[in-house]
C-alpha cells in the first residue's frame, strides 16, 4: 500500500480530477487475459500445413484455407486463424498482432486447478508461492496510483495478489460508498485517524473513489466506431479502455473468460458454428473492438492472452478434446513486431507429441511474459518476477 504525504495531491490524481493540460509521462500498460478451462490452441491457430493435424482430428479439424467462411484464414502458408477470429486478421496484417505457438507451462499437470495456479503464480511446480506474477511485475515506485493494478473480476485473481495494492472491480460504478452522508463522514474519520495504516489506506481509498466518480461523469462512448460485443469480456475490456484513456495511473489490468473446456461437441456441423466457434467469435470481436477503441493509445498498451494448458492433439470419442499440454498465446499492441507466428513448431508425428498425445512445448510462457515485463514495462528484475526462472529466452516479440 502506498503512503501519501499528508495534504499533498499526487500528480496522477490532480491530472485526473482537475484535467491539467500538462500530462505526465504516460505509463506503459500491460493487459493480461486468462482463458480459463484450457482453450484448444490447435483449433485457434490451425497448423493447416500439417497433415497429421487432419489425421488426428477427422471430425473437428478446421479445413484448409479455401476462402470460404468455414475454413481457416491463412496467415503464413502453414498456420491459419480459426474463421471465427476473422476480426483479428486486420490487426495481424497491420503488424501489431504476434502469435506464439506451442507455448505454455512446462509443468506436466493436467489439472485445471494446479495449472492455472502455476501459471498465475508464475512458478510452475511450486505451490507455496504467496503472490502472483502480474503483481510482482509492477515496478517498485513510490507514490503510485491506487488503481495501478486492477482486475475486472469478482475476486482478486492469483495473478494480481501480492505486496502491491491491487483492486478487483466487477464494475467501475460499484467502487463507492453507497450513502452520500456516510461517504463524507467516513472520509473525514479516516483522514483524521491517528492509526497510520488505516489513515493511509483510507486516504488512498477516497482518492480512488473520487477518481472513479470523475471518470464516470460522462457516459463512456468507445472511439473510432468501436463496438464491444455483449458478455463479461466485452464489459471488462470496455472499462479497461475507459481507465486507460482517463490517465489515472493504470499499469496492469487483468480479466478472464471461461468456458473453454471443450470435452464434448467442440465444433458443430461446420467449422464456424458450435461451442468453440461461438466463444472465439466473442473473444476475437472483443479484442478487435478494444484495439479499435484505443486507437493511438494502443502505442502504450500490450495485451497478452494465456490459458492453463492446451488440449489433446487427437479428438476424443465425443467430438471434443481432453486436457493436453502446449497452447497458443496472442500478443498485440504498441511496439509488437506482429504479423508473424513465433515459436518453433514441434510437429505432430507420434514421436513428436508430448507423452504421445499432446502438442509439445517449445516456448515457456515466462519467455513471453518476461519479455513484456522487461521490455514493455521496463521492469528488469525478472529474477523476482519469475523466481527460479531468472533468464527467460526472449523471442524478440517487441521492436527495438
Amino acid at each position: 500500500m502506498a503512503m501519501f504525504g499528508v495534504g499533498s495531491t499526487p500528480a496522477w490524481l490532480s491530472r485526473a480530477l482537475y484535467a491539467q493540460d500538462t500530462p505526465g509521462p504516460r505509463k506503459k500498460i500491460l493487459v493480461a487475459i486468462f482463458q480459463r478451462g484450457a482453450v484448444d490452441g490447435l483449433n485457434v491457430v490451425v497448423p493447416h500445413g500439417e497433415q497429421r493435424y487432419y489425421d488426428l482430428r477427422p471430425t473437428i479439424a478446421v479445413p484448409r484455407p479455401d476462402g470460404t467462411p468455414d475454413s481457416a484464414i491463412d496467415l503464413d502458408g502453414f498456420f491459419g486463424l480459426h474463421p471465427s477470429l476473422k476480426s483479428l486478421k486486420p490487426i495481424y496484417d497491420s503488424g501489431h498482432l504476434a502469435i506464439v505457438h506451442a507455448a505454455g507451462s512446462p509443468d506436466p499437470t493436467r489439472s485445471h486447478f494446479d495449472a492455472q495456479d502455476y501459471m498465475e503464480s508464475g512458478t510452475p511446480g511450486r505451490k507455496a508461492t504467496p503472490d502472483g506474477w502480474l503483481n510482482r511485475a509492477l515496478p517498485q515506485e513510490p507514490r503510485e496510483s491506487p488503481v495501478r493494478a486492477v482486475s475486472f473480476t469478482a475476486d482478486l485473481p492469483r495473478s494480481l495478489r501480492g505486496r502491491n495494492d491491487a483492486v478487483a472491480i466487477a464494475n467501475l460504478s460499484d467502487f463507492q460508498v453507497r450513502d452520500a452522508a456516510g461517504a463524507l463522514s467516513f472520509e473525514e474519520m479516516y483522514a483524521g485517524a491517528i492509526d497510520k495504516v488505516l489513515n493511509g489506506t483510507g486516504r488512498e481509498t477516497f482518492d480512488a473513489v473520487k477518481l472513479m466518480q470523475s471518470i464516470q461523469k460522462q457516459p463512456y462512448t468507445p472511439a473510432n466506431g468501436a463496438s464491444y460485443p455483449g458478455g463479461r469480456l466485452g464489459n471488462s475490456l470496455r472499462q479497461i479502455a475507459q481507465l486507460i484513456k482517463a490517465d489515472v495511473g493504470l499499469e496492469v489490468a487483468f480479466t478472464d473468460v471461461a468456458g473453454w473446456d471443450t470435452h464434448v461437441n467442440e465444433v458443430g456441423a461446420k467449422a464456424s458454428v458450435g461451442q468453440l466457434p461461438n466463444l472465439l467469435a466473442n473473444f476475437g470481436d472483443t479484442l478487435a473492438a478494444f484495439y479499435r477503441d484505443l486507437g493511438d493509445r494502443m502505442a502504450d498498451v500490450i495485451v497478452v492472452t494465456m490459458s492453463e494448458f492446451g488440449r489433446t492433439a487427437r479428438e476424443n470419442g465425443n467430438r471434443g478434446t481432453d486436457h493436453g499440454h502446449a497452447n497458443v498465446m496472442f500478443v498485440f499492441g504498441g511496439g509488437v513486431k506482429g504479423g508473424k507466428v513465433y515459436g518453433d513448431w514441434p510437429g505432430m508425428a507420434e514421436e513428436q507429441l508430448y507423452e504421445g498425445r499432446d502438442l509439445n512445448l517449445t516456448t515457456d510462457f515466462r519467455d513471453v511474459l518476461g519479455e513484456l515485463v522487461a521490455r514493455h514495462m521496463g521492469n528488469r528484475q525478472l529474477a523476482s518476477v519469475f523466481p527460479g526462472y531468472a533468464e527467460p529466452r526472449f523471442r524478440g516479440l517487441l521492436g527495438a
Binding site: 500500500m1 491506487p146 467516513f186 473525514e188 483522514a191 495504516v197 488505516l198
Partner: protein, 608 residues
C-alpha cells in the same frame, strides 16, 4: 509494505497517553507496558472471541479475566448455546460421512457413478430429480440420448392454485414467505422441483432455512456442501459460547489450508474440518499433524494420493505418475519447520519417498484415505540426518511426522504463527522463546502452548492492545455480535466476507491467509467494510435483522455501545458532525442507524 508494519506497532497508543514517534527499536518496550484492568477485559474479548456482545464485558469482569480465559481453554466445560444447535440442525451435510455426502448430492462424480451403474441415485426427491436432469444432459452431450429435457413430474398447476402461483411470482415479500410456509411438508418437494430456476433463486431469502436449502439443492446442488459449511462457520462464530475454540478452528484450518474447489475436495472438506481439525485444536500437535496427513482432503489437495515410487507404477504399464513432492515440501515449509527451518531439497525428495503409497480410494468407493503398500518406495531414506531403514511401510511416513513434530524449528514456527495471530504482527522474541520451550517440554501440547501465550505479560501489554486489524470474517461477525443482529440466512454474509478478500474455504494457496495485518488493508476491502456497516445498520441485508431500538438516541453513546470503549476523537467528531447535518436536512432521519454504521465502519472498529 514492511515499513508499514512498524506503524501498526505504535498505533496502539490510541487509548494511551500520546507518544512521540520513535524508532522501531523502542517498540519492544510497549510489550513491557501493562494494560489497565478494564483494557484487559476488552483486549481478551477482542482477541479470543469474534467480538464482544452486549453484556460480555460485564460478564468477563465478574468472572475475572484469567478465570474466563481458563474456561475458554476448556470448551468442553462450557454449555453450548441452544440457539446454535437449532441453526445447525437443517445443515445436514455437516453430519454426513464422505461417502454419504457424495451419494446424497448430485455432483459430476455422482452422475458418472450412476451412469455406470456403480451407485444408486440419491433418496431425496429433489436431489434425485436434479440428478436425473444432469444424467440426461450427460447423455445428450455424449450423443446417446436425443430426447427433450425432462418435464417436472407434477406440473405446478396441479400443486398450487392460480392465486397461489400468482402470489409466488408477484406477491410482496411477506406474502411469499407466508405462502411458502403454508405449503404442506409432503408437497413442498414437488413444488420446488416444478418451480422455474429463476423463481427458486428469488424465493431463497424469503423461505425458511429448511426450504431455502431445498431451493438451493434444486438450483445448484454442487454448491450445497459449501453452503452448509459456510453457514455453519458463521453461525458458530456468531453464536457459539466456545469462542476461543472457534477462533482456533479457524486458525488451524488456515494453517493446514485446503481449497474446497479443487475437484474432490468439494465433498472432502466437511469431514476435514469436523474430524481432522476440530478435535485437535487444543490437543497434541503430533495428533493434529497425523490427522491431516491421514486425511483424503489433504492428500488430494497436495497431490500425495498420486505420488508413487518411480519403479512402482501400477500394473507395470508406462505411467506418467511418479514421485510427487508437493505434500512433502509443504509439510515442512508450511505445516512444521517453516521456510527457514533448515531442510534441503534432498530432504524434500526423501520425505516424498517416505509418503509414497499414502493415497485415497476412488470417489465412487467413498474417497477414504488408505495406505497402498504396492506403491511405496521400499528403499532407505535419510530425513534431516535421521536414517529410515529400507523395507519399511506406512511407518516411514509416521517416523517423518515424529521427527517434524518434535523439531525445535517446528516449536518456533508454530509459536510464532500463534503469537502473530493472537498477540501482534511482530511478537517479541522473548515470548517466542518461552512458547517454544513450552512446546518442546510438553511435546506439542497446544492447550499448554496457548496458556503460556495468554498468561504472558506480552499478551496483556500496550504492544498488543489494538495492534491487530480484524480479518473480514472477524469484522463481519463482530458487527453482528455487537449489534445483537438476528441472522436467519448466514450465506450472504459469507459472500460479503469473500468480497472483502477472505473467501471462506477458498484460499487457493496452501499457505493459507497471512496472519499479518497487511493481508487485510486495501482500498477495495476498506470500502467493502464501510458499505457492509451501512447495509447492516440500515437493515438492508437479506435474512439479517438489526433492532434499531437498541441504539442510543445519543449518537456518541451508540458508538460507545458498539465499540465497547470511547470512540477516538476523529471518529467522534465525524459522527457528531454527520448527525448535525442530518438533523438540519431531515429532523426525522434515522439518526441512530447512521451513527451505528459510522461506528462499525470506523478505523476504531477495524482494530482489535
Amino acid at each position: 509494505m514492511r515499513k508499514t508494519l512498524a506503524f501498526a506497532l505504535f498505533f496502539c497508543a490510541l487509548a494511551l497517553p500520546a507518544r512521540t514517534a520513535k524508532k522501531a527499536a523502542s517498540d519492544d518496550s510497549l510489550f513491557k507496558k501493562k494494560l489497565s484492568k478494564d483494557a484487559q477485559v476488552i483486549h481478551a474479548l477482542d482477541r479470543l472471541t469474534f467480538g464482544p456482545r452486549p453484556g460480555d464485558v460485564e460478564e468477563v469482569r465478574k468472572i475475572g479475566v484469567r478465570k474466563w480465559i481458563e474456561l475458554q481453554l476448556h470448551p468442553e466445560r462450557i454449555k453450548e448455546n441452544p440457539e446454535l444447535e437449532r441453526k445447525l440442525a437443517p445443515l445436514q451435510s455437516l453430519r454426513m460421512t464422505q461417502a454419504q455426502t457424495l451419494a446424497a448430492y448430485p455432483s459430476p462424480e455422482l452422475v458418472r457413478a450412476v451412469a455406470l451403474g456403480l451407485q444408486k441415485p440419491p433418496e431425496d426427491p429433489i436431489a434425485r430429480a436434479q440428478l436425473e436432469r444432469m444424467l440426461r444432459r450427460f447423455e445428450v452431450k455424449k450423443g446417446t440420448d436425443q430426447s427433450a429435457p425432462l418435464e417436472p413430474r407434477v406440473p405446478l398447476a396441479d400443486l398450487l392454485t392460480r392465486e397461489q402461483i400468482r402470489t409466488l411470482r408477484g406477491g410482496t415479500p411477506s406474502e411469499k414467505t407466508q405462502l411458502l410456509a403454508s405449503i404442506p411438508e409432503d408437497k413442498i418437494d414437488d413444488v420446488i422441483v416444478a418451480l422455474p430456476p429463476e423463481l427458486r433463486g428469488q424465493l431463497m431469502p424469503l423461505a425458511s432455512p429448511v426450504v431455502r436449502r431445498k431451493l438451493l439443492l434444486a438450483n445448484q446442488p454442487q454448491q450445497l456442501v459449501f453452503y452448509d459449511l459456510a453457514e455453519a462457520k458463521l453461525y458458530r462464530a456468531i453464536l457459539s459460547n466456545r469462542q476461543l475454540e472457534e477462533e482456533l478452528v479457524d486458525f488451524w484450518y488456515n494453517h493446514f489450508n485446503v481449497y474446497i474447489d479443487k475437484g474432490a475436495d468439494r465433498f472432502l472438506v466437511p469431514s476435514y474440518e469436523r474430524d481432522v481439525i476440530r478435535p485437535h485444536v487444543l490437543g497434541k500437535f503430533r495428533d493434529l499433524l497425523e490427522a491431516t496427513a491421514n486425511s483424503p482432503a489433504m492428500m488430494f489437495y497436495l497431490d500425495n494420493w498420486q505420488s508413487v515410487a518411480p519403479d512402482r507404477a501400477p500394473n507395470g504399464r508406462r505411467s506418467r505418475r511418479g514421485l510427487n513432492e508437493n505434500y512433502a515440501r509443504e509439510l515442512m515449509e508450511l505445516h512444521t519447520l517453516g521456510v527457514d527451518g533448515g531442510y534441503t531439497q534432498k530432504d524434500v525428495t526423501e520425505v516424498a519417498r517416505c509418503f509414497t503409497g499414502w493415497t485415497i480410494r476412488a470417489p465412487g468407493a467413498g474417497g477414504e484415505f488408505f495406505y497402498n503398500d504396492r506403491l511405496h518406495d521400499k528403499g532407505e531414506k535419510v530425513v534431516l540426518g535421521v536414517t529410515i531403514p529400507a523395507g519399511g511401510g506406512k511407518e516411514d511416513g509416521e517416523k517423518v511426522l515424529d521427527i517434524l513434530a518434535n523439531h525445535p524449528a517446528t516449536a518456533r514456527f508454530i509459536s510464532k504463527e500463534l503469537a502473530q495471530r493472537f498477540v501482534a504482527d511482530n511478537p517479541p522474541a522473548e515470548l517466542i522463546d518461552r512458547m517454544s520451550k513450552t512446546f518442546l517440554r510438553t511435546h506439542g501440547d497446544l492447550r499448554e502452548l496457548m496458556r503460556t501465550m495468554l498468561e504472558s505479560k506480552e499478551f496483556f501489554s500496550a504492544g498488543a492492545y489494538r495492534a491487530k486489524v480484524k480479518t473480514p470474517l472477524e469484522m463481519i461477525v463482530a458487527s453482528i455480535r455487537a449489534t445483537g443482529a438476528q441472522v436467519d440466512y448466514a450465506f450472504p454474509l459469507a459472500q460479503r466476507i469473500g468480497q472483502l478478500g477472505e473467501p471462506l474455504y477458498r484460499k487457493v494457496e496452501p499457505t493459507g491467509y497471512s496472519n499479518a495485518n497487511a493481508e487485510w488493508v486495501s482500498s477495495a476491502s476498506l470500502l467493502g467494510r464501510m458499505n457492509f456497516a451501512l447495509a447492516l445498520a440500515q437493515n438492508r441485508l437479506p435474512g439479517v435483522k438489526v433492532d434499531a431500538e437498541r441504539f442510543a438516541s445519543d449518537p456518541v453513546e451508540t458508538a460507545r455501545l458498539l465499540l465497547f470503549t470511547d470512540p477516538s476523537p476523529a471518529t467522534r467528531d465525524a459522527i457528531e458532525k454527520a448527525m448535525a447535518n442530518q438533523k438540519t436536512k431531515d429532523p426525522k432521519a434515522a439518526i441512530p442507524a447512521l451513527a451505528a454504521a459510522l461506528a462499525l465502519g470506523s478505523p476504531d472498529f477495524q482494530r482489535k
